[in-house]
Amino acid sequence: MSTHRIYLFKRFERFWHWSQAALVITMLVTGFEIHGYLGGFDFKSAVLVHGYAAWALVTLWVFAIFWHFTTGEWRQYIPTFQKIFLVARHYAWGIFRGEAHPYHQTPQHKHNPLQRLAYLWLKLMINPLIWLSGAFLLIFSYDWIRTMPFGLTLADMAWTHTAAAYMMLLFFIAHVYLATTGHTPLTYIKAMITGWEDSYDGPQAGDSSPSKNA
């Protein structure tokens, strides 16, 4: 078994990831506070922080979208079903036996097929939903609009936002847990901080999957 280091996450990408993480956590906490589920904040601060974090995230996204398209990194999210069952089998079975991950990351293809689907779901479903509904609620709260578009009521928009928030929470829980499923629990997290990941090439004993092809 050989190891080598690959540079997976560029500097902007890491900055984007962690600042987005901080903002999403902030918005989850303040959002569920506004929703009436968490104490410890006062309502007014929660609303203000939620709004400010929203604007910060918008700004971050403008840069991130620009970065994705100018660098071609958006291709990372093109879905593939190749080896998807192997990857699924790994999380359901192989991981418990200490098998190596069947998917081999390269800087060009750093996300495994399940990851790609999950991120695509995040970017094409959860994010637009939470953003659109959130943006309308935000400008409604700023007194810029008096009614919701598409014939929706304020409650409809708020419910959409809530549903999307639960999806985001689900993504967050799964994402944080799966971040510990590297070769060691900290492998992926270190990679996300430093950009460098130790790649453990080669199949483990008992793994019959074809590998070394990436």
Partner: protein, 637 residues
């Protein structure tokens, strides 16, 4: 030069206060300057805009004024921290002496107002002596020739108003209330709060429309001495001789003593001026038979209120009179209960504009989007607060409680328990530990409230009054609404308003279902307060109201809505978000709005699925992680 001097004198002390962060004072003084001399304030405006565009950075501006002041050679005393806060009426003497003498000395006459430079005490007509109050009115009318005609066309004289929403005639004699119920058959007592003089015979009521112009009572509103008093049972006349106070009724007679002395009408007439909070309050603070009883947001604490109690009437601050908001023209006073504009649409609802109707509103001065960013409020917060003004009346947040002035208000009255006597034969009186009268034999039992949290309802300004003679229509709780309100989240005319809901248990005719009019007050044997006999009292009352009475009576629960609009608290004491944005908050029962933080607005399915999926995800990752750890440990060993 003279003008400029006057301006600096007026403004500088206030500006030095501004440096200490006292913005309120600046506003007060500035408003005064505006009123007093439009030209001066405009000159001030021009300068301030040209030198400090958009800024008014308070310290910089203040320093500039200071320099200007020095350049003019004024004494430093005006700029010290102890500078008087309201220098217009009484400019510091040092300042008056320093500048070059004006060509014409400025005439200042403290005794009279700015708008009416007459000294009534020097009028021959008012030298007296007056032997009847009508003589005073005749003297008034000899100059103010149309005043009586004007008065006699107002609700203060007719006790009649037109309800434009329901297209009905309303007014004290037309409708019921849940306090003394109706003035009908009780007029000689109730006219203690009528702006007219009637017969002094307790048994003889002269209808208002039969009275001549000299029966208008000018003094009750224009008195400045706080000594003029109308006396009950004598048709709204003041005491012209020594009169004994009916036991237990001292508050209505306005004295602690067992008698009232004849009034010196000439002395009062010579000091007349525009009405004050005291003169309006002498009736409106005491509605329902005592201080603060009826309204909840109007009581004698507003004679001399603190800033905390009411920011506008604040005796040491803005010191608004009632008519500052209830703008008046030709003795017609705006903003009556019978014609409420619950959701004014225009931004600047200018008083006196014909098309604006006749309501007194907050929006008249503050507009529709009154919240601005300042050192306490961020821009998004101000915007969010302005968003709330679409659905929420100003009063809802800015009058967090009513009856805040130390006087309780009557929340509940039960006539059914009346009639008990003390061992000595006088009506039984019970007071609670706070000294509040919870039972009085002549009236029944009461519940009082202080610092009362209002009840909130959608309200579009329409009140449907029960007219005298109407049959009761109890709601599902068996309660009869004497002035049911209308309003909904969708009619585009309503806002969420605060109310005092006063409740009673009052007599009605069990055969006809008509709410009883009864004879409460008088010295005759039919009046309830003399003989405690409902049968007689209702018979007499119904007869006076020209209504049939079957002879059978019972008691029915009633309620009455009182929109709350006074006792506006400082903005720091306005409601905060969580007082409504929470479960069990103040607006828990309000439909038709999505309120974040209130779980009744959640979509139950989304919540159930969302929380379930979240729980499953947690359980899933915990289980997955646990198995990983266990198997890893086993592999290692």
């Amino acid at each position: 030069m003279k003008q400029r001097f006057a301006m600096i004198v007026s403004l500088t002390p206030a500006l030095s206060q501004r440096a200490r962060g006292d913005e309120e004072t600046l506003r007060v003084v500035y408003v005064k300057v505006l009123n007093e001399n439009q030209e001066l304030s405009m000159a001030f405006d021009k300068r301030h805009t040209s030198h400090f565009p958009g800024g008014l950075a308070s310290l910089g501006f203040c320093r500039w004024i200071l320099l200007m002041g020095m350049a003019f050679g004024f004494g430093a005393s005006a700029f010290s921290a102890e500078a008087p806060s309201a220098p217009l009426d009484n400019p510091p003497p040092s300042l008056e002496q320093t500048p070059p003498a004006p060509v014409v000395p400025i005439e200042v006459d403290k005794a009279v107002g700015q708008k009416t430079p007459q000294d009534h005490s020097r009028f021959k007509q008012l030298q007296g002596p007056f032997t009847s109050p009508e003589q005073v009115t005749q003297a008034c009318l000899s100059c103010h020739t149309k005043a009586a005609k004007q008065m006699m066309s107002t609700i203060h004289w007719t006790w009649k108003a037109w309800n434009p929403k329901t297209r009905q005639m309303v007014g004290k004699n037309q409708v019921y209330n849940t306090f003394c119920v109706s003035p009908i058959s009780n007029e000689q007592f109730c006219t203690v709060c009528h702006v007219g003089y009637g017969s002094t015979d307790p048994e003889k009521f002269i209808p208002f429309e039969q009275r001549t112009e000299d029966h208008v009572d000018c003094l009750v509103c224009h008195d400045q001495t706080r000594t003029y008093r109308k006396i009950p049972f004598i048709g709204g006349n003041p005491a012209m001789e020594k009169i004994a106070v009916r036991p237990g009724c001292n508050e209505v007679y306005g004295t602690d003593k067992p008698y009232v002395m004849p009034q010196d009408l000439a002395r009062i007439a010579q000091k007349v001026k525009a009405p004050t909070r005291y003169t309006c309050g002498i009736c409106h603070f005491y509605g329902g038979g005592g201080d603060g009883v009826k309204h909840g947001d109007l009581d004698s604490s507003l004679n001399d209120p603190s800033h905390e109690l009411d920011v506008h009437m604040d005796a040491k601050g803005l010191n608004f009179s009632c008519q500052k908001c209830h703008e008046t023209s030709d003795h017609h006073i705006s903003g009556e209960h019978y014609a409420i504009d619950a959701a004014p649409k225009t931004s600047a609802f200018m008083r006196g504009f014909q098309h604006n109707g006749n309501a007194a509103t907050c929006q008249s001065c503050h507009g529709q989007t009154p919240h601005h960013a300042d050192k306490r409020t961020s821009t998004p917060e101000a915007a969010a607060l302005n968003m709330h003004t679409r659905n929420i009346a100003c009063e809802t947040c800015h009058i967090p409680e009513f009856a805040r002035g130390g006087k309780p208000t009557k929340m509940n009255w039960n006539y059914a328990t009346a009639g008990k006597l003390a061992p000595n034969g006088s009506p039984l009186v019970i007071e609670d530990e706070k000294g509040w009268n919870t039972y009085w034999g002549v009236k029944g039992s009461f519940q009082w409230g202080e610092n009362v949290v209002p009840e909130y309802r959608w309200f579009n300004g329409t009140e449907r009054w029960m007219h005298v003679g109407d049959k009761i229509q109890p709601d599902k709780n068996g309660v009869v609404g004497v002035n049911d309100i209308s309003g909904s989240p969708t009619d585009g005319q309503s806002k969420i308003w605060p109310f005092k809901i006063s409740r009673n248990n009052q007599p009605y005719d069990t055969q006809t279902g008509v709410l009883a009019v009864f004879h409460s007050f008088g010295f005759d044997q039919d009046s309830y307060t003399m003989t405690y006999d409902w049968q007689k009292a209702i018979s007499a009352g119904m007869k006076a109201a020209k209504l049939p009475f079957s002879g059978h009576y019972g008691f029915v629960k009633t309620q009455m809505y009182w929109p709350i609009a006074h006792m506006v608290a400082p903005k720091t004491k306005a409601l905060g978000c969580v007082q409504c944005h929470a479960d069990g908050g103040r607006l828990q029962g309000i439909d038709g709005v999505y309120m974040p933080g209130r779980s009744r607005d959640h979509q139950p399915l989304i919540e159930r699925i969302g929380l379930l999926v979240t729980a499953l995800a947690f359980a899933g990752v915990l289980l997955h992680g646990l198995i990983r750890v266990i198997l890893w440990l086993r592999r290692r060993s």
